[in-house]
Amino acid sequence: MANVLFLFSLVMIWTMLLYHMFLMQGGFWHFMTFRDPISEWSKNMKDLPKVSVLIPAHNEAVVIAATLRAMARIAYPHDKLEVILINDNSSDRTGEIAQQFADKYSFIHVVQTTPAYAGKGKSSALNYGLTQSTGDVLVVYDADNTPEKDSVYHLVMGLLNDPHAGAVVGKFRVTNAYETLLTRLINIETICFQWMAQAGRWKWFNIATIPGTNFAIRRSIIEELGGWDEAALAEDTELTIRVYELGWHIRFFPAAITWEQEPQTLKVWWKQRTRWARGNQYVVLKFMRQLFSLKRKKIVFDIIYFFFTYFLFFFGVILSNSLFVINLFVDIGLEVGNITLILWILAFLLFVTEVFVTLSIERSEFNVQNFFTVILMYFTYSQLWIVLVIYSLYLEMKRVLFNQEVKWYKTDRFD
């Protein structure tokens, strides 16, 4: 019995590890090649479409000025650009600050959500923004983002040169990476996410996930979909799947770069991640039910991946840890010997080397400080994820049992 359980957990865990190993290979490959077509593509950048940049903002007074300063510097023909700050129910000076920019720059507009849309979260705010915009291409930024000046240009470049791309997503970097230990860990995590999950999946399967910020999408698609799903906590994952269902793919184009702020305290991090985890669990459960009726098999694969991450892999880790602990006290007849110890060490080395590759891709990030942070990360930050999934599963269960309403928690910003 113990052996069967152990084998099960082993298969679950190593399926994930092997998959990530495979993704890392693709990610590295994508890094080596993604710039190759840029010079060719630039030649097609003549008849540019009109772009609407949507920035949903709810009580973002702390960061909004910096965000709009970056927006003001966007290198895109101003007659074909509108930046719309969607002020959603802010009780602080968000609207006031934004208005100063709107007064100064003709292509920056501030809109106020109407009662039908107000205070319901990001999806709802975006849907309102959609009604106020006129661009053929919609670009979304979170209110804390400071995109590099040519990021919008690169996003549009991806869309213009890839007729099958429904959306193009860029890369995001962390502004406060060296503020606290937590932001340092998050910084490493985001770099890994982009070069393994995003770049890897794109290179192997032409799949990327809309990360909620720094992406461009064709207006026609959003309209066909009837806007953003307001019930979804992770509106980006949800949108991703629906875009694929329409027959489009989403391109990962890391030439478009934005910088964003990450939570500096554990409490804020915890709330944000709980929302993500619950959001993704919601998506998995929503689409698992209609898994085999989905037209795009590629995305089925991606949903299974999520299912693995939040359920099977998670369960495998819990099981494996439990067996390990029980085995310390009672002999449960585990028949596997030294090889599992070797595998454990290899799993650790795999983690470390994968992170090293992604860090070296971001030139300056592979430094002594991060070298030790990575080693520490495996035993601390990575393990926090287990607690997080347990907690979010508990919340999700509670919600289903007591029929509670989802509440969108907005991430707190820092000066």
Partner: protein
Amino acid sequence: MRYKVLIVLFALLCFPHVTHANSPNVTIVYSSTSNDVPPEVHKLDALVSRFSENIHILRDTEVTETSFKKTSHLFYFGLNPATIPSSTRKQINESNASLYGIGFNANQLKAFEKIDAIRMQGVSTFYQERTDTNLTFELADTVFSVNNQAATVHARIAQRDKEHSTIIQLNEHFYSGIYNLLNRSSLLLADSLYDFFEVEAKQEHLGYIRLEDVNPSTDSKLLEETGNYLLDRNIPVLLAVVPVYVDPDSGQNVHFTDRPELLDVMKSLENRGASVISHGYTHQYRSSETGEGFEFWDVENNQPILTPSDEEPILLKPKEAFSNTKEYNAYLSEVLDGETSYIQSKLTKSIHELVSLGLHPLGFEAPHYTMSHSGYQLTANYFSNVFGQIQWSNTEWEVMGVTPYVSKPSLLHGMTLYPETIGYVRTDLPRPVDEMRRARDELMLVRESMIGGFYHPYIGMEHLADLIDMMESTPNFQWLDLRDQNEWVRTEDVSIQTSNGTMSLQDNRSPVWSQLKLNMPNSFLEKSLWALAIITFTAVLMFLAYTLYLRTQRKKRLFKERG
């Protein structure tokens, strides 16, 4: 003159060959209803093999005018009542060879015209003239009594307070009324062969004790304790070793490399004088467990093993399914190819694995003593001896037994049989050593008889001292030391040879490869895990290489990005 000396010297050098030619030329003629050589005849051949290296077996219908041309000793063995073909009868009667008649029909021959044989049932008490011993065997027998005043009597039977002769000698001719040679009473016939061949027996009883079924699941403490006890008593103990422990229920497949402490015990016992013999490779077939299962006989289908363990066994078709013998033989040789490769692989693996572990197998014992006759023929390419019992029948595994003394049965194609004659310590019996003592006492009927038995090390010390005391109380008892014999074990790549107390090993395998093979993981699970580890390790190396590459490109990239 010098040439003459050289010629004499040359002749002396040739002497060993001459002795071979001088060994009695024996022909065994038998009458039987069976088409194949009956097990009893194989047994007779084995008994005779102690005295002759030239034995020819003929069915009574196969005798020709030249059959006995060189024969010095002729046996006639009647297994059933029959009329001996007249031409055969004539050939036997006209032969100058000493004749030994056994069982039925002997009175049809001139030499035994007047023996007046009467068949008697329920005979269990026998008397041996030579040793003046009365013995009652456990099981009753059917034998012929003979009534001939002129004869010298070697053995008698007692029934209803009356004595009758059963083995007699008339001049140089012998007759034995004991004809169930698979029964215990055949001991008396075996002993009479010394007189028939006029051989002076050595005043010695060789003996051995095997520690049985030593395999990777064996308790190392108990093996150490029992092994060292025997060695302390200067007994060259034998270890019957099975290199792999298989338990299909749990999917376990354990090798000695998984039990280093047990291997150390075995090596230290061998260093102190114990001899290792190969007891198969897994001591099981298909879904059976090591020690329980048969390895060289498909007991479920009672036939030789024709397919590897993981394949469905082919059922051997009976002879009747074929229109003629030629077709049957063609079929047989085809399916027996499966047996050949199976046995070759098992024996090679067993020897190679034992040698890779640092042990020196010096002999062979078939698991549960079972093996087909073609199997023995193959085994003779690998081993110079066999311990235990022999399967006399090629179709029924249960028909097995031993000769009471060391022999070289034709069935074994040159291998020496070191017979297991007193059985083993059975813990289900109240006084197991007494049972073995009884067998030993019966063996005293036979000159040079071997006292061979085994002991399961898992029993611990409980009966061991008693057993050894009993064995050593045998008159003129000597322990057999395999290292003092000229034994050899070999495969294409490995050979082990003993002589005068030393062992020499030649191993032509690549040492790296054989060690690698030895330490290869066994189960599918373990193999997969190792494969996983290798894949992961490769990935780790690749990622390290990428990292280093990206670092070397750092400055170049800086300029590129700025540009």
